[in-house]
C-alpha cells in the first residue's frame, strides 16, 4: 500500500500537538541555506522529525507562499518523504546493477529473514524500516547496505544478518 497522503482537512485541528508544531516551525525557520523553498523546508522537517506530519503541510505552504496542493505535490513526489513516524533504525540495501551482479539479492533475502519482513517497510515492532535503494553510491564496495546511514561494503548474507542482529541488540 502506498502511504495515504490525502489531506484530511478539518480533522487535524483536534489531533494537533502544539509541541510538534513548534518543532516544525523551528525546523522551517532555522534553515541555514539561503534559498528557502517548499522542497528545502520539507527536507528540513524530515531531517528534524524523520517524517512529514500533516501539520507540516500547511505550515510549509504559508511559509513559502505556496498552495497546500503544491506542497502535497512535492511531498508525495520524492520517495524519501514518509508520512508516519519512522522506525527506530533505518536499514537500506542497495539493489543497483553493480550490487545485483555480486549478490545483492541474497543480501536482500537475508535481511528480510532477519527482520521478519516479507517486503520493504517497517517491522511490526517498530524496530526497523527496510528500504531498497537504487544506488547507495559505493559501487566499488558492492554489494552494499547501510544501517542507520553507516555503510557496510562487500557484504555477505551472513554479515548482513549479524549486522541486523547487532543493531537489534543496541
Amino acid at each position: 500500500m502506498p502511504p495515504d497522503v490525502t489531506p484530511k482537512i478539518g480533522l487535524t485541528a483536534e489531533a494537533e500537538s502544539e509541541a510538534l508544531k513548534q518543532r516544525i516551525q523551528s525546523a522551517v525557520e532555522s534553515q541555514k541555506r539561503p534559498t528557502v523553498t517548499v522542497l528545502s523546508s520539507l527536507l528540513a522537517i524530515e531531517d528534524e522529525l524523520g517524517f512529514i506530519p500533516e501539520e507540516a503541510i500547511e505550515l510549509v505552504a504559508s511559509h513559502s507562499g505556496a498552495t497546500i496542493n503544491e506542497v502535497w505535490g512535492v511531498a508525495s513526489f520524492y520517495p524519501n518523504f514518509r508520512f508516519s513516524p519512522p522506525a527506530e533504525h533505518m536499514v537500506e540495501v542497495c539493489w543497483g546493477p553493480s550490487c545485483h551482479l555480486v549478490g545483492a539479492t541474497e543480501v536482500i533475502g537475508a535481511v528480510l529473514g532477519e527482520l521478519g519482513l516479507e517486503s520493504e517497510g517497517d517491522t511490526p515492532d517498530g524496530v526497523a524500516t527496510l528500504k531498497l535503494n537504487t544506488c547507495l553510491g559505493a559501487c566499488s564496495q558492492a554489494p552494499v547496505m547501510s544501517i542507520d546511514h553507516r555503510l557496510m561494503g562487500r557484504i555477505t548474507p551472513a554479515a548482513a544478518s549479524s549486522g541486523i542482529a547487532a543493531m537489534k541488540g543496541n
Partner: protein, 602 residues
C-alpha cells in the same frame, strides 16, 4: 583582501610543516568507498591508539585515491619519509601500524602496499626496505589525475592544503590576466566536452550565456543518481575546492553572480565537505565580494534535492532548485536565456567544472594534449561489478576498454570469462565481450552502441544472464520515470512487465515487436533523455545478447540459471519491479511457436 600570493605563502608554510615537520602525518581515506569499507572504525581506532601511546600526530581524513579495493587505506608520513600506504586496514591492524611503524620508524615487511614520494623527494630503495613504488602498479601508474589530482592527498575542506597544491592558480590567472571572453576561448580550445553525458563542448556552452544583467546562475550538477557511477560525489567529497574554483571560473567567464551546487539529500559526505569548503572559501576571500582583491564578486550555495534520478536532467534540476517536483521543462526557451527562476543559467556536471582550474592554470594546449581526437582530457571511470580491482580511475581518454578492464581492473576474478559491460549509466546500454578494442572516446563509444556518459563501467561475468541484468536496468528506468510524459511513464512500466515475462518464460507472441514499438514511442514522445533513451538497455541487450533472449523465449530456460522468481513486490517505492529473490525460474516445455530469426533485426 588577501592576494593569491599571500594565501599561497601561508599555505606553503603549512604544507611544509605537514610534510617536513616533526609530527607524523596520518591520512585515511573516508570518502564513500572508505566509509563502506569501515574506515570510520579504523579512524577511531587510530585516534584512540595514538592517544593511549602518547603520540602527537596530525590525523586527516582524506578522499579517494582511486584504489577503492585497498580501502580502508592508511597513508603515514613520518618526518622526512615518503608516504607509506597500508591497505585494507581493519581495527585489528592499527596496533601493528602505530607500534611497528609510527613509533619506531622501521618499515614493516607485511601489510604495506607501497610508497609514494612527495614532490621533489628522492627515496632510495634501501631506505624503503624493498616496498614497491605505488606508481609501478597500474591502478596508480596508469592514472592521469586532473580533476582528482588532490583526491586522497589533501584534507578535502582545508583550503590551505588545496592552495599549497597550486589551488586557485587558475582562477587567479583568469581574474588578473584574462578577460571573461578569453577564458571562454581558452575553454573552447582545450576541447573540453561536458562529462554529464551529452559531451557538449563546455566553452561553447558558456558562450551561450546571456550577457544581460545579474542575477545569473552557474548550476553545478552533482545529482548523479546513476547506479554504477559515483565519480561526481567522489570529487566533491575528496576535493571540493577544485569544483568550487571551477564554478567560480565559470561564473567569471559568463559574467554570473551566483553558483549553486546541487546534490541529493542524504549524501552527507559530499554535502558536508562541500559546505565546509564553501564556508572556508568565504573566510579566505575566495568567494563573496572582491575575490582575490579584484572587482569580481561571486556567491555559491548548496541546494539539495529529494530522491529523483530525473532531477539530474538540466531543466528538471532547475525545477528542483526552485523547490518543485523535478520534472523537465520543454525547450526552448533554453536555460542560457531562461533558466532557474527565469534567469539565465548554465548547467555543468561536477567533473566538467572540476577540470576548469587545471585548464586555466596549465593552458588549453596542456589539456588537449591529453586524450585523443575530439575527446580531450581524461575519463573518470567508476569500475565495479565482477572485477578484481574495483575503483575510481582517472585515465587519459583514448585508452581501450580492454586496458581499463584487464590491466587496471585486473580482469574478471576467479578465472571466469567476461560477458558484458554496462556503460554510461542505466540508460547507456551494454557492450559485448568483443569491445576490448573500443577506445574511451565519446564518438567511438557512441558508434559502438554505448555511451561513455557519466563514466560508470559495470563488468558482468559469464554467470550473468543478459535478460536478468536488463530487468534490473529497466526496473530502475521505470522506478525513476518522473511521470510527466506519458510515453515514458507508461512505456517504462510496459517494458518492465514484458521483460519480467521473458525472465519467467511467460512471454507472449509479439512481445519483442511490442517492446520495439513502445521504445520508439518513448523516444519520440518524451521531453527528456530518460524517456528518449529508456529503451536503450533493452535494445542494446537484444543487439548483443540475442541468444540469451532466444534461450528464454524459445527454449524456455535461463541460459545461466541466474533468473529467479520475484520474491515480493516492494511497496514503499514508485516501482512495480519485483525483486528476484525467489526460487530459480524452472525451465518449461519449449513454446510451440518459433520466433522469427534474429530478434535484433527488423
Amino acid at each position: 583582501m588577501a592576494t593569491h600570493a599571500a594565501l599561497k605563502a601561508t599555505a606553503n608554510e603549512r604544507w611544509k610543516e605537514l610534510t617536513e615537520g616533526q609530527r607524523p602525518w596520518i591520512r585515511i581515506g573516508t570518502a564513500i568507498c572508505g566509509h563502506a569499507a569501515g574506515a570510520f572504525d579504523t579512524l577511531a581506532a587510530i585516534e584512540s591508539k595514538l592517544k593511549s601511546s602518547g603520540i602527537d600526530a596530525t590525523v586527516d581524513e582524506v578522499g579517494c585515491l582511486g584504489i577503492c579495493f585497498a580501502e580502508p587505506l592508511v597513508d603515514v608520513t613520518l618526518p622526512g619519509g615518503p608516504r607509506l600506504f597500508f591497505s585494507n586496514v581493519g581495527v585489528d591492524d592499527v596496533d601493528a601500524i602505530v607500534d611497528g611503524y609510527v613509533k619506531s620508524g622501521n618499515i614493516p615487511t607485511e601489510g604495506v602496499m607501497g610508497y609514494l614520494a612527495e614532490e621533489g623527494q628522492v627515496v632510495s630503495p634501501d631506505a624503503i626496505n624493498g616496498v614497491p613504488n605505488l606508481n609501478d602498479i597500474p591502478q596508480i601508474g596508469r592514472q592521469k589525475r586532473v580533476a582528482l589530482r588532490n583526491a586522497g592527498t589533501t584534507a578535502p575542506a582545508d583550503v590551505y592544503q588545496y592552495l599549497a597544491r597550486d589551488g586557485y592558480a587558475g582562477l587567479n590567472r583568469a581574474l588578473i590576466e584574462m578577460k571573461p571572453e578569453d577564458v571562454i576561448e581558452e575553454m573552447k580550445s582545450s576541447g573540453l566536452r561536458g562529462r554529464g553525458g551529452a559531451a557538449f563542448p563546455t566553452g561553447v556552452k558558456w558562450s551561450f550565456m546571456s550577457r544581460g544583467e545579474n542575477p545569473k546562475y552557474i548550476l553545478c550538477n552533482c545529482e548523479e543518481g546513476d547506479p554504477g557511477a559515483f565519480n561526481d560525489k567522489a570529487i566533491l567529497e575528496s576535493d571540493p575546492y577544485t569544483t568550487i574554483e571551477g564554478i567560480t571560473i565559470a561564473g567569471y567567464a559568463t559574467g554570473s553572480s551566483n553558483g549553486i551546487i546541487f546534490i541529493r539529500h542524504g549524501h552527507d559526505g559530499p554535502i558536508d565537505r562541500a559546505e565546509a569548503a564553501v564556508k572556508q572559501a568565504y573566510e579566505a576571500g575566495l568567494l563573496g565580494k572582491n575575490i582575490l582583491g579584484t572587482d569580481f564578486s561571486f556567491d555559491i550555495e548548496i541546494s539539495l534535492t529529494g530522491e529523483s534520478y530525473v532531477a539530474g536532467e538540466e531543466t528538471a534540476l532547475m525545477e528542483a532548485v526552485e523547490g518543485h517536483r523535478s520534472m523537465p521543462r520543454a525547450r526552448p526557451p533554453f536555460p542560457a536565456a531562461f533558466g532557474v527562476w527565469g534567469r539565465p543559467s548554465t548547467i555543468n556536471n561536477v567533473k566538467t567544472l572540476s577540470y576548469a582550474p587545471s585548464i586555466l592554470e596549465n593552458g588549453a594546449e596542456w589539456f588537449s594534449d591529453i586524450g585523443v581526437n575530439k575527446s580531450t582530457g581524461t575519463a573518470i571511470i567508476c569500475l565495479s561489478g565482477n572485477i578484481t580491482y574495483p575503483g575510481l580511475y582517472e585515465v587519459p581518454m583514448g585508452l581501450t576498454i580492454g586496458e581499463v578492464i584487464n590491466e587496471i581492473g585486473g580482469g574478471v576474478p576467479d578465472g571466469r570469462k567476461l560477458k558484458l559491460l554496462q556503460t554510461g549509466g542505466p540508460l547507456g546500454g551494454v557492450l559485448s565481450d568483443q569491445s576490448a578494442d573500443v577506445h574511451l572516446d565519446f564518438d567511438e563509444m557512441r558508434e559502438a552502441g554505448a555511451i561513455l556518459g557519466s563514466g560508470g563501467i559495470i563488468v558482468a561475468d559469464e554467470r550473468t544472464c543478459a535478460v536478468d541484468l536488463t530487468r534490473v536496468l529497466v526496473a530502475f528506468c521505470q522506478y525513476e520515470s518522473c511521470g510527466k510524459c506519458f510515453p515514458c511513464r507508461l512505456g517504462t512500466t510496459n517494458l518492465l512487465e514484458i521483460v519480467e515475462r521473458i525472465c519467467a518464460h511467460e512471454d507472449r507472441p509479439g512481445d519483442v515487436e511490442l517492446m520495439k514499438t513502445v521504445g520508439k514511442t518513448m523516444q519520440m514522445g518524451s521531453l527528456c533523455g530518460h524517456g528518449q533513451l529508456g529503451f536503450n538497455p533493452i535494445e542494446s541487450a537484444i543487439k548483443h545478447f540475442d541468444s540469451d533472449f532466444r534461450t528464454h523465449m524459445e527454449e524456455r530456460r535461463c541460459p545461466t540459471g541466474s533468473c529467479r522468481r520475484p520474491g515480493y513486490a516492494p511497496v514503499n517505492t514508485r516501482s512495480f519491479a519485483q525483486v528476484p529473490i525467489g526460487e530459480p525460474v524452472a525451465p518449461v516445455e519449449p513454446a510451440p511457436v518459433s520466433l522469427a530469426p534474429g530478434l535484433a533485426g527488423k
